[in-house]
Subunit: 213 residues, 2 copies
DNA sequence: AGTTTCTGTGAACGATGTTCACGAAGCCAG
DNA sequence: CTGGCTTCGTGAACATCGTTCACAGAAACT
């Protein structure tokens, strides 16, 4: 065999990602992977602990790719000398939208993966990879003339990310594809604008949180 | 048998929801339902088309319950004569947080259900039930002194909902439970405040949307 | 060469979703 | 009351999964 062990693993991951992208989580089957990779089922379990292990590895690749996409979008704007906070936040959001559209099956599969069991056992690695994204957003916010300390910047960055994430995922869960794509852009634009204008007023928001009665 | 056909269906749904709540999607098994309901596997398939059909029916109940929770929160504030937009939005968000906490397994299962397959076949019924939630938010926004036409109110309502949704789901996907619960409240407060202040400045946002280059 | 360690294999096992032939139970006409 | 017709519950049976593991062959080491 001319194939290294690690090389075979990479091929398995590529196949697994393609399967996820085409048919979602249900399409990730051990026998299909083995057949397409030209190995036996047992070898798949030799390379990875579980099918969940394969899925986790694919998810890592996806998160890495998302990170590069965000960094690349910022580098692209920096190359054009664009430093406007609004434009940079919109570019980040647009990069995320493009990423989701480029991974129509594997990205929903990543999201679904984390919801399979109510109590997550070890999501730490995910958080670590997302932190670099929050870092990018926080650094952009730091360039604006908001009076936010580092803690509030961190929270604001996470809030922005989660909001964009919610808009995108909720938008793609809706029925029409193209009509909602425009609405996603509208919602993102509204969110970013409102966020910037809301923060520009100054004043930190250290409230107790929402309580009804 | 003293049980009506519809009554048995209700019991199956209650059992199914409990199973989902305890163990997530993986815990929804036809044989477990049949055993706990005191019927045979075939009868489950007589009452519902699929296991997916059972899950869909459970999801409908959940969405209905979420709708009442939102309406009840608004009615509660109205009973206390509270008309402040900020307080009402925070109360709505708080109601959603409580709802998610009250359904630790079945709500993630609903979200995961929509992500199982990349191309959704018929999510229309979901949207219909969510529309009433958007209506509540839009009506609250209408009471504020923002200059938003009906279209922008609709978009703003969806944006707010999606953002809160993203904050809550991203928050609960994080590792620590209690520490993140505080951060969820902080993020929601920040979002609502920023949203209100951003909208108060006036001016509609009819931008083309985020484009990078 | 002999021994040990590693690794790929695929048959086998258990669990699960789904079907369907069978039978019991109601219902209605004669 | 009886015979046919319909409806509905049943659970054995089938296909398809994930996962394991005894075995064989290759490789490495003494």
């Amino acid at each position: 065999m001319a194939l290294d062990k690690e090389e075979t693993g990479e091929r398995v991951l590529a196949i697994a990602e393609a399967l996820l992208n085409e048919g979602g989580m249900d399409n990730l089957k051990a026998r299909t992977i083995a057949e397409q990779a030209g190995i036996s089922v047992g070898s798949v379990y030799n390379l990875f602990s579980d099918l969940d292990g394969v899925h986790r590895a694919v998810n890592m690749r996806l998160l890495d790719r998302l990170g590069v996409a965000g960094a690349a979008a910022m580098a692209d704007l920096g190359r054009h000398g664009i430093t406007d906070v609004r434009q940079r936040l919109l570019a980040l959001a647009a990069a995320y939208v493009r990423f989701v559209e480029a991974h129509p099956g594997s990205w929903p599969a990543l999201l679904a993966f984390n919801r399979r069991r109510p109590v997550l056992t070890e999501p730490d690695v995910y958080e670590a990879r997302l932190d670099q994204l929050f870092e990018i957003i926080a650094s952009v916010l730091a360039d604006g003339d908001f009076d936010l300390d580092e803690d509030m910047r961190r929270i604001a960055a996470r809030t922005l990310w989660s909001s964009v994430h919610g808009i995108v995922t909720s938008g793609y869960a809706a029925r029409s594809v193209r009509r909602q794509a425009d609405e996603i852009d509208q919602q993102i634009a509204l969110l970013v604008n409102v966020f910037i204008r809301g923060l520009e007023r100054g004043g930190t928001f250290a409230h107790s949180g929402p309580t009804a009665s």
